[in-house]
């Protein structure tokens, strides 16, 4: 067998690493490690220059392993692996050492010891690299259909976009009608269109599209499988249908908080929420002359810290509507900050003030009080800008409450094996750059299921989710990173610990050559390593993280410690 030839590339990351860690010392140290045949440092290894240098060295030095010591694999590993592959080296013969997050950033006040630590990390990386093995990635077909859970505006938009891309779509809606929460609104912000103007054409197109099948009054009962091949059970009145889809979009929306016990809600008949207000005056009932709205009810408080994002817009919309119906009506909005971000909302906010809507700022430490025993008669508020108490007569008090997660979100999140955030909304893969994807491949989220979103925002997210969910279906196949677990049949005792701990349902016990053993579904395994840790006999081994590889790292570190830190 030819000798293993390791190349090491140490990155300065501009000053991020180079400003703390003495990179030349790390380079010099690495030169003397076993099997290392070339060591380089780069200002930015991730630059085109750095990447071509990796490729050149693989060719010139006939490298059989590449170690890059730089930043985080989370952002940069695919890049370096691709560079290896382009130079003809199997991408799994690459090892990443993080000397930025794990070293320079956290030890920026101690360059000397940071430099020693960087050396140790590189030694460990090289030790492991020597035992890396080439791997083949698992490839599987993608079934050409998508599931959209939820038939509100977001769900319908996503379904239509996918169908217009030529993809078969199933829409599962819990209620007997399409339309979701928006159906309950009277008019829509910011265009003041009637709800029907948006909903009717959408519903008609969804119902009439040859590539969309709608399941009304139905719920997702079970989901098995993985990207490309999800088996979905849809239940309706005890009847189950089985669907096969390649990707899934979660568009289950959210619900308005009903603020029981706050400001006389549920005890005083004329204290309602914004949604109830819109519903009750849809039919043209007599409008009350004095209306007081209280914003941030149940939002931006210790028990629910988030801002409902568009509740201020809702209050503005309804206040304008009231003033347009009856210019003499006295409409006051009690708020903590008016969240009129962007162009449209700010315009409406200004418009509302011009129509005579009063905006009064209150302090949450001294919240408004609804006065009246059997009915709300007035609202007392400490006017924060005037510094005095004001009593506003009220025939109707409208409470502006945020959207809260649907109660069944947790059930769906468990079925799909995707997480919820602390507020109970679905948690995306990355807040900034992957806002509508989950870490789990093939599942996407849009609309208020993710976070309270206005209609334009929900619709944008729905289109975005449709773009993402369509891509694997167009490709026709997906590849799975080869960091999956395999079971050594000879040592497995079929104790079942692995089956229990696997969060992805990827391990099962089955009959093997030497009796009952654990078996891992490669397509479902995410490489989390739980089963490896739980295995009492060492039978579960993870590709790229096997015992030999990890022990060699520990060995390299221990060796350095015995010899006093230096070589």
């Amino acid at each position: 067998m030819p000798k293993t030839r390791v190349g090491v590339f140490v990155c300065h990351c501009g000053n991020n690493i180079g400003g703390v860690v003495r990179v030349p010392e790390v380079v010099e140290d690495a030169r003397h490690l076993p099997n290392v045949v070339c060591v380089e440092d780069n200002l930015y290894t991730c630059s085109e220059e750095g990447l071509s240098s990796i490729k050149e060295q693989i060719a010139e030095q006939n490298l059989s392993r590449v170690v890059v010591a730089s930043c985080t694999p989370r952002t940069h590993e695919p890049l370096f692996k691709e560079a290896c592959e382009e130079a003809g080296l199997n991408r799994y013969l690459f090892e990443f050492v993080n000397i930025r997050e794990h070293c320079s950033w956290v030890h920026r006040h101690d360059p000397a010891r940071a430099t020693e630590k960087a050396k140790e990390l590189v030694r460990m990386g090289v030790a492991k690299a020597r035992y890396l093995e080439p791997q083949e990635e698992f490839e599987s077909e993608v079934f050409p259909a998508a599931l959209v859970v939820g038939g509100g505006v977001a769900g319908m938009t996503a379904a239509l976009s996918l169908a217009n891309q030529g993809i078969q779509v199933y829409v599962v809606e819990r209620e007997e009608k399409l339309g979701g929460l928006v159906r309950e609104l009277r008019t829509l912000f910011p265009t003041e269109q009637d709800t029907g103007e948006l909903l009717s054409p959408l519903m008609e197109q969804v119902r009439g599209h040859p590539q969309i099948t709608v399941y009304l009054g139905s719920e997702v009962e079970n989901v098995e499988g993985f990207i490309g091949d999800f088996q979905v059970t849809v239940g309706s009145d005890g009847q189950n249908s089985e669907l096969q889809v390649g990707t899934v979009i979660v568009a289950t929306g959210a619900q308005e908080l009903r603020p029981s016990g706050m400001y006389g809600y549920s005890t005083l008949p004329n204290v309602v929420t914004q949604l109830e207000f819109e519903e009750s005056f849809k039919s043209g009932a007599d409008l009350p002359p004095n209306v007081v709205m209280i914003n941030c009810v149940g939002a931006r408080v210790p028990e629910r810290t988030y801002c409902g994002r568009f509740c201020c817009s809702t209050a503005i919309k309804n206040a304008i509507w009231l003033k347009e119906q009856d210019p003499d009506a006295k409409v006051s909005v009690l708020h903590r900050d008016v969240m009129a971000y962007g162009v449209d909302i700010e315009d409406s906010y200004r418009g509302a003030m011009e129509l005579g809507v009063r905006f009064l700022r209150y302090d949450i430490q001294n919240p408004p009080q609804v006065l009246g025993a059997k009915r709300a008669e007035a609202v007392k508020v400490q006017h924060q800008l005037m510094g005095k108490e004001v009593i506003l007569p009220a025939d109707l008090v409208v409470l502006t409450t945020p959207l809260v997660p649907r109660e069944d979100s947790e059930r769906l999140s468990k079925m799909l094996k995707v997480p919820l955030g602390t507020e109970g909304f679905f948690l995306e893969a990355h807040l900034k750059l992957r806002p509508i994807e989950f870490s789990t491949d093939g599942i996407y989220v849009c609309g208020s299921a993710r976070y309270p979103s206005s209609i334009p925002e929900s619709v944008s997210q729905a289109y975005a989710a449709a773009a993402k969910a369509g891509i694997p279906i167009r490709d026709g196949s997906v590849r799975v990173e080869a960091i999956t677990v395999f079971c050594d049949e000879r040592t497995c005792s079929a104790c079942g610990n692995c089956v229990e701990v696997c969060p992805f349902g990827a391990v099962e016990l089955e009959e093997g050559k030497f009796g009952r053993i654990a078996s891992v579904s490669v397509a479902q395994c995410k490489g989390c390593g739980c089963c490896v840790a739980a295995c009492p006999s060492g039978a579960m081994q993870q590709r790229g993280f096997d015992d030999r590889q990890l022990l060699s790292m520990i060995g390299a570190l221990a060796e350095g410690m015995v010899s006093g830190g230096g070589r």
């Binding site: 991730c46 938009t157 962007g342 162009v343 807040l431 773009a467």
Partner: protein, 446 residues
């Protein structure tokens, strides 16, 4: 069948995301970027709210993924000249400005930059330091190639010099290079031209340009950034001293009918982030944020501003200051403001107050790019009253412009933050995919 190619105008995060999605859909993408590198405004940011992710660290992999994609044709330092035709069949003329560099030969080594004698204000660092006339806009630039800025190059001015040519071992310098005109046929167009900061000098009361220690939000962003002109040391312009008390003034030109009546959407969180970063760099530093409404409306934004108050020495004062004066001795700006909230200052009166600080950051309005109006005219697109690209149907089709087949995402169509821009970019990709899908079946089709 419609052309299976798409033109994307603008190489910031929105244009990059749209290009990646379109390319992953199997469409051919021409990404036209006006400057020498893709990256846009996000490349200039230090960290991003509310996660404090290093902006370049999350952007750079996207830039490389985009440029390296087999289906993406990157046309940097280029502009769209003319567009004819209609949805499914546009003819586009793209003009590639001469870089005077042979891209195939340039290795981006930077030797030429070292030797170039001409120093000019560095626009990437908001003019806070100098770059050379032959330059790479920032170290992670994509493509990682040099550009000669002909307006400032001594050879083009006086005919002499040519030091870069002598220095370049790769022989990449080409002073004879001519403008290149490209004719493209595309089925759809995505616009993602982003924003420019509004010039706060228009608001005389804040003395921008005259008061040395009053800088803009984007200038601050470069100062606090480890790869910026001061390597992340917050040195104020007048004397290089690190300030211990700083103030942010919000809505400078925003939410003001005399300037820009709209809310720029991102500045409340931007200032909160900058105040947090300042305190992370200097734990004794105090920040005051003068705001109108604290619009922390996104996921984790409220929690972020609560943390700013509780853990990072940030105080929020509800007021729009009327004036900034300067203490002659110390060069400290003095912010004059009306206490609008009873009790905010800890007592029960309201008065006109002043706060002496060592540095003021003006969080100015953000406006569509300067070149945007001309581009809109070229493409026959309508603008709304605020100058953003008009959207025909905000509710049902929030990324469709007034011209079928042309879509708009990110700040060029309305003020928004990075995640919303990324969402709209993917949304625009979906709309393009619908338009160009060869097997698309719409209701009513047989």
């Amino acid at each position: 069948m419609s052309s299976q190619s798409v033109l994307v105008i603008g190489g910031g995060i929105a244009g990059i995301q749209a290009s990646i999605d379109l390319a992953n859909m199997g469409l051919q993408v021409y990404l036209v970027e006006r400057t020498p590198s893709i990256g846009g405004r996000m490349a200039q940011l230090d960290k991003t709210f509310p996660t404090n992710d290093c902006s370049m660290c999350i952007l750079a992999p996207k830039m490389i993924e985009c440029a390296g994609h087999d289906n993406v044709h990157l046309l940097t330092y280029s502009e769209v000249d003319e567009v004819r035709g209609e949805a499914g069949d546009f003819k586009v003329t793209v003009r590639g400005k001469p870089r005077y560099i042979d891209l195939a030969k340039c290795t981006g080594c930077g030797e030429c930059t070292e030797k170039c004698p001409r120093r000019v204000p560095d626009e990437f660092n908001m003019g806070l330091d100098k770059r050379k006339a032959i330059y790479m806009p920032f170290p992670q630039a994509v493509p990682r190639k040099m550009t000669i800025d002909a307006e400032n190059c001594l050879y083009f001015a006086k005919g002499g010099c040519r030091v870069c040519e002598e220095t370049c071992q790769a022989g990449a310098i080409d002073f004879e290079q001519q403008e290149e005109v490209l004719e493209l046929e595309v089925g759809a167009i995505v616009i993602a031209t982003g924003f420019d900061p509004y010039d706060p000098a228009a608001l005389k009361e804040y003395g921008y340009g005259e008061i040395e220690n009053a800088i803009t939000g984007l200038e601050y962003e470069r100062l606090i950034c480890a790869s910026g002109p001061t390597e992340g040391h917050l040195r104020r312009p007048s004397d290089g001293k690190v300030p211990q008390v700083i103030a942010f003034i919000q809505c400078v030109g925003s939410r003001d009918v005399n300037y820009k009546s709209y809310c720029s959407s991102v500045c409340c969180m931007h200032a909160t982030k900058e105040a947090i970063l300042a305190n992370e760099h200097y734990p004794a530093l105090r920040s005051f944020i003068f705001y109108t409404d604290m619009r922390a409306v996104g996921k984790q934004f409220q929690e972020y501003s609560i943390r700013a108050k509780d853990e990072y020495n940030v105080s929020y004062i509800r007021s729009r200051p009327g004036r900034i004066t300067v203490d002659e001795q110390s060069s400290n700006p003095i912010v004059w403001y009306d206490e609008t909230v009873f009790g905010e200052a800890g007592d029960s009166v309201r008065r006109v107050a002043s706060k002496e600080v060592e540095l003021v950051i003006l969080c100015q309005a953000l406006v569509p790019r300067g070149v945007h109006r001309e581009m809109a005219e070229n493409l026959g697109l309508e603008l709304d009253e605020s100058g953003f690209l008009a959207i025909q149907d905000r509710l049902a089709c929030p990324v469709d412009t007034s011209v079928p087949g042309i879509f708009a995402c990110g700040f060029c169509q309305s003020p928004q933050d990075i995640p919303d821009s990324v969402v709209q970019a993917s949304a625009a990709a979906a709309r393009v995919a619908e338009l160009l899908s060869p097997n698309s079946r719409k209701p009513g089709d047989a």
